[in-house]
Amino acid sequence: MIKGTVLINSETCKGCELCIVACPQDSLSLSQKINLRGYRYVELSQDNCTGCTNCAIVCPDAVITVYRQSKQNYKKAV
């Protein structure tokens, strides 16, 4: 399985959970903490991310940056 990870901007996350629904790996979950705007934000809660970008694609607020281990030379998966 390809190894990936995501970087989450906890201050722009609005806790809508759409990324959580979209993640095929169940890697994401809502934190108990709230950010300055009052939202519980998303965290990577499991180490099984494949870097599939699904979460990032559906994230309305462009909160998520996705990285993938593969060396292929493309910038975006979509």
């Binding site: 190894k3 990936g4 990870t5 995501v6 970087l7 722009t12 609005k14 806790g15 809508c16 959970e17 759409l18 629904v21 979209a22 939202y39 990577l44 870097g51 970008t53 699904n54 990032a56 694609i57 559906v58 994230c59 309305p60 607020d61 462009a62 998520i64 940056t65 996705v66 990285y67 993938r68 281990q69 593969s70 060396k71 292929q72 493309y74 910038k75 975006k76 998966a77 979509v78």
Partner: protein, 258 residues
């Protein structure tokens, strides 16, 4: 942070497009407008249009689109975005021009402008966000609200006898010869987003070729207006919206129509 260590060895495969500004978006959590903005700007970035495109924002929740899209934009009066886009395109025919409009804006107050812009075949793209409600003003009934849908101005549910039928403006305008490419997309799943992106790509390619009006409806959600959590809106879209507004191309250019 463990991620950062990893990241050094990894490649970035998805990030916020540079064509979005750093402005925090005022949209409610989970709002489809924001997804649509992002994808639109991704396409603008990938196609290299940023310096040659002018957008028109409507009056509706996306009224501030010009704060988020890092391109030249004009904010239009309610319903008149396509007339404003016409004005721009006519004097700047070598630029890409699009309007971005909600269902109240495009299909209620702006019906005449919508129909005539498309009937003239203005060489622009119209992005039509159909969330079946007036988001900005607090959840009133839109022309596209569903049968029986409860909104703040149809508190007992939309009643066809009184309020008329959900208006399928997209199917309607597809009949106009000026409409070159008409399609209905969505942004609530990774897959629909990918297709929406492709549709945007097509539309700008056609605009480059001067083909006439391209029209992309986006079936979208409005968690606040629908009084649901964002997650609940996903089911509502699948179960209620899509049966009435099925996804897919409605009018595609045929070979012989060049």
């Amino acid at each position: 942070m463990p991620e950062e260590m990893l990241i050094d060895e990894m490649q970035c495969v998805y990030q916020k497009p540079g064509t979005l500004t750093d402005e925090y978006m005022h949209y409610c959590p989970g709002c489809g407008h924001a997804v649509a903005h992002k994808i639109l700007m991704e396409v603008v970035e990938e196609m290299g249009l940023q310096e040659d495109i002018i957008g028109v924002a409507p009056v509706g929740c996306s009224v501030f689109a010009y704060n988020y899209m890092n391109i030249d934009m004009q904010e239009a009066a309610h319903g008149r975005a396509s007339a404003v886009a016409t004005g721009i395109k006519r004097v700047r025919p070598d630029k890409f021009v699009f309007s971005y409009q909600g269902d109240g804006d495009l299909a209620a107050i702006g019906t005449a402008e919508t129909i005539h812009t498309i009937n003239r075949g203005e060489n622009i793209l119209i992005v039509f966000i159909n969330n079946g409600i007036y988001g900005m003003t607090g959840g009133q009934m839109a022309p596209t609200s569903l049968f029986g849908q409860k909104t703040s101005t149809s508190p007992y549910g939309r009643d066809v006898a009184h309020n008329g039928y959900p208006l399928k403006i997209t199917e309607l305008i597809a009949h106009l010869p000026g409409a070159y490419y008409v399609t209905r997309q969505a942004v609530h799943t990774p897959n629909t987003v990918r297709k929406f992106k492709k549709a945007l790509n097509n539309a700008f390619e056609y605009q480059k070729l001067n083909k006439g009006t391209c029209f992309i409806e986006v079936v979208s959600n409005c968690p606040s207006g629908w009084k649901m959590t964002p997650k609940e809106t996903l089911t509502y879209i699948e179960e209620k919206m899509l049966p009435e507004y099925p996804l897919g191309d409605i009018k595609v250019p045929t070979q012989n129509k060049n």
